[in-house]
């Protein structure tokens, strides 16, 4: 028989290639032809399409998501971990042969086999089922896929916005970080083009600051769509991308933030996966990937986002806003805690937006940076700076708790945090929400409370560290941020440490199956 296989492993330098060699050798020994695509760190050479066409079966000896699964559509697939291929390649080949024979005998995959000879073969497949992966691990794998594609959007956008702020503080005499956002609305194409024609000047630092700021904003506007699209891609491969993108865009429109994007990503992914498995007549099969799957999945994801995810967002928005207004006269420190928690819960999502809008709306009534609304603004800004700074700190203090991508994201998170771009922490939060969001919220609460207790105040609605010259009690303001950052980073490290227990469980599971 002929087989094609894909091997991969977390580090991509050892098991990937050992599995490939072991499968090729074991195949040769048993009289089969095996071609392996090594999706490892040394880059991978794609399998020739002809080889795939001729193959009787497919073997995934992969611990990472297989890239380009759609190439193997319609072929029987044996999914074992990379470890099993290294330790018992002849066993894997035997299983793959049995799988192909069972498929040829007409036994539908997974169904109880009937008939004597194929039954024996199929039972062996059933006796050693594909690697069991816990639901939690699987979900994390999908989230990680989404996050890894999203990170470049965050760093490109965040750093450009921060550079825009920096240039603006140089270009304007005062309040540069505020002025830069008021020149033109970069999301209004007509206004933008008019400004480029009339207002933009190549010799004006202000012009460059404005343009770079908006370019960063454009990159940022893909953050939630990309997260959603590539979570769906992790689940359903290519068919997931379109509904994932549209769902993520819609989640942003209805104000559901990145948590909404995670929901649309999973919805789009599983929907697309389900539709792509429909049994359809041959004539329709050709138009499934280009017409049927995209149309149905986009329609359903769009409807769900608009009708089911959207309305509660508005209710949450209105309810929280009036609740906050009711609180504003009461205990200032308590208000600081609540605003801090909200800012750090969804990092640009609905709760964060409510807290932020509540603060900025109050500014209209404030004239001095020691006024109550200015204090609320300071608490909100300080708390919003905590998550990216804490994430950056944690990646420096305990680098081995984070993936390589996260460590890279940690470097730019310093700048994003200093610029009050809370979204800089989304790559971390989205990959591991249950552990990290509480860490961020705790740090935000500390910072919000301290900022209020210190009486720090600011009239600027954004700018972060770059507007500290405008802050009333600037040193205490920075101290509040520092305290929250340290608390939050410490909790991240503690919670992530608990997480390493679950990695060991995953390893244990793989162990069991290997034996």
């Amino acid at each position: 028989m002929k087989f094609v296989a894909v091997s991969s492993c977390p580090t991509g330098i050892a098991h990937t290639y050992m599995a490939a060699e072991a499968l090729e050798q074991a195949g040769k020994a048993a009289g089969h032809e095996v071609h392996v695509e090594t999706q490892g760190a040394a880059g991978s050479v794609r399998l020739e399409p002809d080889l795939i066409t001729q193959a009787d079966g497919v073997i995934y000896a992969a611990d990472l998501d297989v890239q380009g699964k759609e190439r193997f559509a319609g072929k029987p697939v044996l999914d074992v971990g990379v470890k099993k291929a290294v330790h018992d390649a002849p066993g894997v080949i035997a299983q793959a042969v049995a799988m192909v024979e069972a498929a040829r005998a007409g036994a539908p995959a997974g169904a109880a086999p009937a008939g004597a000879a194929p039954a024996a073969a199929a039972t062996r497949v059933a006796a050693a089922p594909p690697r069991k992966v816990g639901v939690g691990t699987q979900i994390r794998k999908y989230l990680m896929t989404g996050v890894s594609y999203m990170i470049p959007f965050v760093s490109a956008g965040g750093i450009l916005i921060a550079i825009g702020f920096l240039l603006a503080t140089l270009a304007w005499d005062t309040n540069g970080a505020i002025e830069v956002t008021k020149v033109v609305n970069g999301f209004d194409g007509g206004a933008l083009v008019t400004w480029i024609g009339d207002g933009f000047s190549v010799t004006s630092l202000q012009s460059w600051a404005v343009l770079i700021f908006w370019i960063g904003k454009w990159s940022f506007s893909f953050l939630v769509p990309a997260l959603s699209a590539y979570i769906a891609y992790g689940i359903a491969d290519r068919p997931g991308i379109v509904p994932g993108f549209v769902g993520g865009y819609a989640a942003g429109l209805v104000g559901a933030g990145f948590l909404g994007g995670i929901v649309t990503g999973f919805l789009a992914g599983f929907l697309a996966l389900w539709i792509s498995r429909w049994k359809v007549p041959k004539g329709v099969r050709g138009v499934m990937p280009v017409v049927v799957i995209p149309v149905i999945s986009v329609l359903v994801v769009g409807l769900v986002t608009a009708l089911i995810i959207g309305p509660p967002m508005k209710a949450v928005n209105d309810g929280l806003t009036s609740w906050l207004n009711g609180l504003s006269g009461s205990n200032a420190v308590l208000l600081g805690v609540i605003l801090g928690l909200m800012m750090c819960f969804d990092l640009g999502g609905p709760l964060n937006k409510v807290a932020y809008v509540f603060a900025t709306a109050g500014l209209a009534n404030a004239t001095l940076s020691s006024d109550a609304p200015a204090k609320i603004m300071a608490a909100v800004m300080a708390a919003g700076m905590v998550p990216p700074l804490a994430a950056a700190l944690a990646t420096v203090v305990r680098p081995r708790l984070f993936t390589e991508g996260e460590r890279e994201a940690g470097k730019s998170a310093w700048l994003l945090g200093l610029s009050f771009i809370s979204e800089g922490a989304i790559p971390f939060a989205a990959a591991d929400p249950l552990r990290l969001i509480p860490s961020f919220m705790a740090g935000g609460a500390v910072t919000g409370a301290l900022s209020m207790a210190f009486g720090a105040g600011v009239l600027a609605p954004h700018g972060g560290f770059w507007v500290t010259p405008l802050v009333y009690q600037p040193f205490l303001f920075l101290l509040a941020i520092l305290a929250g950052m340290v608390v939050s980073a410490a909790l991240m490290i503690v919670f992530k440490g608990i997480g390493h227990g679950s990695d060991a469980e995953v390893a244990g599971e793989a162990e069991l199956v290997t034996v």
Binding site: I13, H15, Y17, M18, E21, V86, H87
Partner: protein, 150 residues
């Protein structure tokens, strides 16, 4: 390109150490050769990788490895153990330990030689020839000769 391995990265007489001890011994060889900049940092990276999934291989092989910021050149350190040490392989303890150190951002050419090494390790006759090699220079020579990128 710097050789993957030299005789001073081989220790043919490791005895009385546990899994961590053996790893540390090999890391110290890499540090002494200037191929790893921080022994503790690199050991933490190796341990993190090992925690994901034990790297014991069939045939008495331990294969600790990591891609790490502390590695300057793709390198291999080899230890032969007087007594077997459990490396998490189902078929028994390891007597031959390969520590692979890869830079975090190695280019593909560098990583290809590591891929070639991993492929060679699967072959029993390659492992046997290393076990039979009399000294450090012999081990290094066999690996340098046999491991060539495809």
């Amino acid at each position: 390109m710097t050789a993957l391995i030299t005789a001073d990265l081989v220790d043919v007489g490791i005895a009385g150490l546990d899994r961590d001890g053996v790893t540390r011994r090999l890391i110290d060889l890499l540090v002494a050769a200037g191929r790893v900049t921080d022994a503790d940092g690199f050991q933490a990276d190796v341990r993190a990788r090992e925690a994901q999934m034990a790297t014991g291989m069939p045939g008495g092989i331990g294969l600790p490895h990591a891609r790490s910021d502390y590695v300057t050149v793709p390198s291999l350190a080899v230890g032969k153990l007087a007594q077997g040490v459990d490396w998490g392989a189902p078929d028994g303890p390891a007597t031959l330990v390969f520590l692979i150190a890869a830079p975090a951002s190695g280019d593909a050419d560098h990583l290809k030689i590591l891929a070639a090494l991993a492929r060679r390790l699967v072959h029993p006759e390659f492992r046997q020839s290393l076990l039979d090699a009399p000294d450090a220079a012999g081990v290094a020579e066999i690996i340098t000769r046999e491991v060539v990128p495809a």
